[in-house]
């Protein structure tokens, strides 16, 4: 059951700590990562993600851009190494 003990979740809470910095989304550009999430979504933002190196929803490796995937181990990952 969701929402019975409502806990405030922000978009920032849903961002993986090791996310590739080339992954972009609306809430990053609008500086709204601290905005509250009102529903049960698992990932931050509106679900529209794109790569700053391709300007499309597909990364340099020809795979779809998504916060669950744009992380260490992906061939095109450019974030800080752990």
């Amino acid at each position: 059951m969701s929402n019975q003990n409502e806990k405030i979740t922000t978009h920032q809470d849903l961002v993986p700590r090791d996310l590739c910095p080339s992954m972009l989304m609306k809430h990053l550009l609008t500086h709204s990562m601290s905005e509250r999430v009102f529903d049960d979504r698992q990932w931050p933002g509106d679900g529209y993600y794109w790569c700053a190196r391709t300007c499309t929803c597909v990364g340099p490796d020809d795979e779809v851009v998504h916060p669950k995937d744009c992380r260490p181990g992906r061939r095109c990952y450019q974030g800080p190494q752990a």
Partner: protein, 747 residues
């Protein structure tokens, strides 16, 4: 640094007619150096008054230069070759012949050999030439070959879509949830239904695109965007990834012909124009055509929603179960939101699943996920209320937990004439049936200071008495420049006519993208802070000139001075000298203290007339009440609300993407066949701006772009239900669906 002082302010709002005020005292701690907060007791001279759009004449006379209007001598025009297949791989791409065509300056590949093609319209290559005819001829000479794969462009039959019955009901069993099942079992009245919405494509009047020119390694680009700084950084990174040694990037977007959520990324068209200009070594323009706009720049996803709920004997919702399935193109962004303020005490569950298809993915569109979710939820609530024998307004008054909206329901109902409208009976057998409906709106954005360096604003006061207020953020047409001029005028105590507001050049201080209704709440208090600092500097100059202690000099009402030693604004500014006062204000963080309300509330009422012979629905009148914190630019705020209602009428009655399942291609990718509400379709529209002092920063503005677009389609859907007595649960409410609903009633 001294400790910021405590300031007592009054938050809330004065009484709406016939209701009580909601005013409260609150103590806040503004940041050091910031202006004292405006609150519910502040007497404004300019804020909240009717001020014409400061760039209205420029726009109406054609002097406003949009990206589309930018041109340079020797500039080339460009187009993109698009994939004709919905799924496969690019196995061959031959560009040489196109490059050798007369008038062609550059040809670039946008997809590597072997790369996946994911939808009809996926970008393959781009060509720049002297004229678009040269470019079209060259594109004909590009040989692209594909390995085809089987595709699917219908989310309703996607592999993991729920099963639908012949009547469109979701047939899958609900997952076990003991508490919820128990609540449903105990409820006095229960109801279950399936709702559906179609894809609404982005249709900004100015299509996506840009004009790029390189000066050595430095790029200058005019881009139709709603994220000047975001796109500047994105293009620098993308050009570097393509092997270009990029120096500085300067981006201009002084006028933007709409964005609605589709213009956050520079897009492949933005990158392509930079690559072409770099290769051709002359300026290049690339603007998408209308078909590309409909098919490649995103959309509001369609969705399936299924709800079941129960109410107790008092009409309170005690159980709420909701699941949705959203079309997500080839990515994954078909999310749906539903109101949570009706179901605070209910046993509830919500779940969502994205359904992937081989089509252009959704992008944020004005209140992403909300209009579709609210349509389903609010119509479901009306069906539930009807089943329980409760008037829809009374049902909401019983269940809505937002105190502000409870006032709005009551005020709006009186203004709209709800009771009389609902009591009016249609004549038996009449051809035209009228009905009334209502729906709520919610959004949550009070803005913020930004990550890292806070959002900034420049304010300059010149010796001739004119004032500039400048932001590098964009105005996507909502009236940002006017808002900046109004806030500056209020702080300086001078008329708006003395002020020039400028936006959209990344050479000015940075600001956020326009999205999520963030821009005004995130920069308004920076605008004020810049004017506040510039005023202080002017006051210091005047104090010195008239020989009065600084603390005794005031700047208000077009005068600067103390007691009888008052200088008119124009005379005071003559003391400035040839170099203007030039101050940079910043957006301080929101106060740590809790605001009066962290969300924005709204309510809308609609009346429709349904032709039972043709099935045509005409919306005859609408009334909306909307809160956006402190209303700064009243006319522009009203314009936002009325514009959202117009867009909502269009969504409710007309807009839908029609795909050819066999080719995967959109069949109605133009304004002839993709129907959008026109002037003759519009109802009488009225709105009331509900100004609320939230007390979260020195200005107290809240977001407005999204919230009024949430309720409209839902209110219209409910009005149609009231008119014909059966719900039409599938947007858009086109004549065929109305006739089918009427037939089901008879049958």
């Amino acid at each position: 640094m001294s400790t910021p002082r405590d300031v007592e302010i009054t938050v809330g709002y004065p009484a709406l007619p016939g209701l009580e005020d909601r005013l409260e005292k609150r103590t806040v701690k503004p940041a050091e150096g910031d202006a004292a907060p405006w609150d519910a007791t502040t007497k404004f001279t300019t804020i909240g008054t009717d001020v014409d759009r400061v760039d209205g004449l420029q726009k109406a006379s054609g002097r406003a230069k949009y990206t589309y209007d930018i041109t340079f001598p020797g500039m080339l025009q460009a187009m993109i070759l698009r994939a004709p297949i919905a799924k496969g791989k690019l196995k061959g791409l031959e560009l040489d012949e196109a490059s050798r065509m007369p008038g062609i300056g550059a040809v670039v590949a946008l997809k590597d050999l072997g790369a996946k093609v994911r939808f009809v319209g996926d970008a393959i290559a781009a060509v720049a030439g002297t004229t678009l005819n040269h470019v079209r001829d060259a594109i004909e000479k590009i040989r692209a070959e594909y390995d085809l794969e089987e595709h699917n462009v219908d989310y309703v039959v996607a592999t993991d879509a729920p099963l639908l019955s012949a009547t469109g009901q979701i047939e899958e069993p609900w997952a076990e949830a003991a508490e919820l099942e128990a609540a449903l079992k105990e409820a006095k009245v229960t109801h279950e239904a399936t709702y559906r919405t179609e894809v609404q494509t982005h249709s900004s009047l100015e299509t996506h695109g840009g004009v790029a020119r390189w000066n050595g390694n430095d790029l200058e680009i005019w881009l139709s965007t709603q994220a000047t700084f975001g796109c500047r950084g994105e293009l620098a990174q993308a050009c570097k990834a393509k092997g270009i040694d990029v120096g500085t990037v300067t981006l201009h977007a002084e006028f933007v012909g709409g964005g609605f959520g589709s213009k956050f990324s520079a897009g492949i068209e933005g990158l392509a124009v930079c690559l072409l200009a770099h290769a051709a070594k002359v300026p290049v323009k690339l603007m998408l055509d209308r078909f590309e706009e409909h098919t490649t720049t995103g959309n509001r996803p369609g969705c399936l929603m299924q709800a079941r709920a129960g109410v107790d004997a008092d009409g309170r919702i005690v159980a709420w179960d909701w699941r949705s399935f959203g079309h997500a193109g080839f990515t994954g962004s078909g999310g749906v939101s539903v109101p949570n303020y009706y179901t605070a005490d209910a046993k509830k569950r919500t779940a969502h699943k994205d359904l992937n298809i081989d089509a252009d993915p959704p992008r944020p569109m004005r209140a992403p996920g909300h209009p579709q979710g609210w349509f389903g939820a609010e119509l479901f609530l009306d069906e539930l209320a009807t089943k329980a024998g409760i008037d829809p307004l009374q049902f909401r008054l019983k269940n809505d937990r937002e105190a502000i909206r409870l006032d709005q329901w009551r005020f709006g109902a009186a203004k709209f004439g709800w009771d009389a409208a609902r009591a009016r009976k249609n004549e038996a057998g009449a051809r035209f049936l009228t009905g009334s409906g209502l729906a709520s709106a919610r959004w949550g954005n009070l803005g913020g200071a930004g990550r890292g360096t806070p959002h900034g604003i420049t304010c300059r006061i010149h010796q001739d008495g004119t004032v500039e207020t400048r932001s590098g953020a964009q105005d996507i047409g909502v009236g940002t420049k006017t808002m900046m001029a109004i806030v500056t005028a209020e702080e300086l105590g001078i008329p708006v006519a003395r002020i020039t507001a400028m936006t959209g050049h990344t050479t000015d201080p940075s600001g956020p993208a326009s999205g999520g209704s963030t821009l005004t709440p995130s920069i308004a208090s920076a605008v004020r802070h810049a004017a506040f600092l510039a005023k202080q500097t002017l006051v210091e100059i005047v104090a010195k000139h008239i020989g009065v202690p600084l603390s005794e000099v005031h700047c208000a009402g077009g005068k600067v001075g103390s007691g009888t030693a008052q200088l008119r604004w124009a005379d005071a500014c003559k003391l400035i000298g040839p170099n203007p006062i030039d101050e940079r204000g910043k957006r301080h963080p929101n106060y740590a203290e809790k605001p009066f309300h962290a969300s924005q509330c709204g309510a809308q009422f609609a009346e429709v007339k349904v032709d039972t012979w043709t099935g045509l629905v005409e919306v005859t009148r609408m009334f909306g009440i909307q809160d956006c914190g402190l209303v700064l630019a009243k006319k522009q705020a009203e314009s936002q609300v009325l514009g959202a209602m117009i867009q909502g009428v269009s969504y409710a009655l007309h807009e839908q993407r029609i795909m050819d399942k066999r080719s995967g291609r959109m069949l109605n990718g133009d304004f002839l066949r993709y129907k959008i509400t026109g002037v003759r379709d519009l109802p009488r529209l009225e709105c009331h701006m509900h100004s609320i002092a939230n007390g979260h920063d020195s200005v107290g503005a809240a977001g407005l772009g999204e919230p009024p677009s949430v309720a409209t389609a839902a209110a219209i859907g409910n009005a149609v239900f009231h008119a014909i007595g059966v719900p039409v649960r599938h947007l858009p409410i086109t004549p065929d669906k109305v006739l089918a609903a009427l037939a089901s009633k008879k049958g």
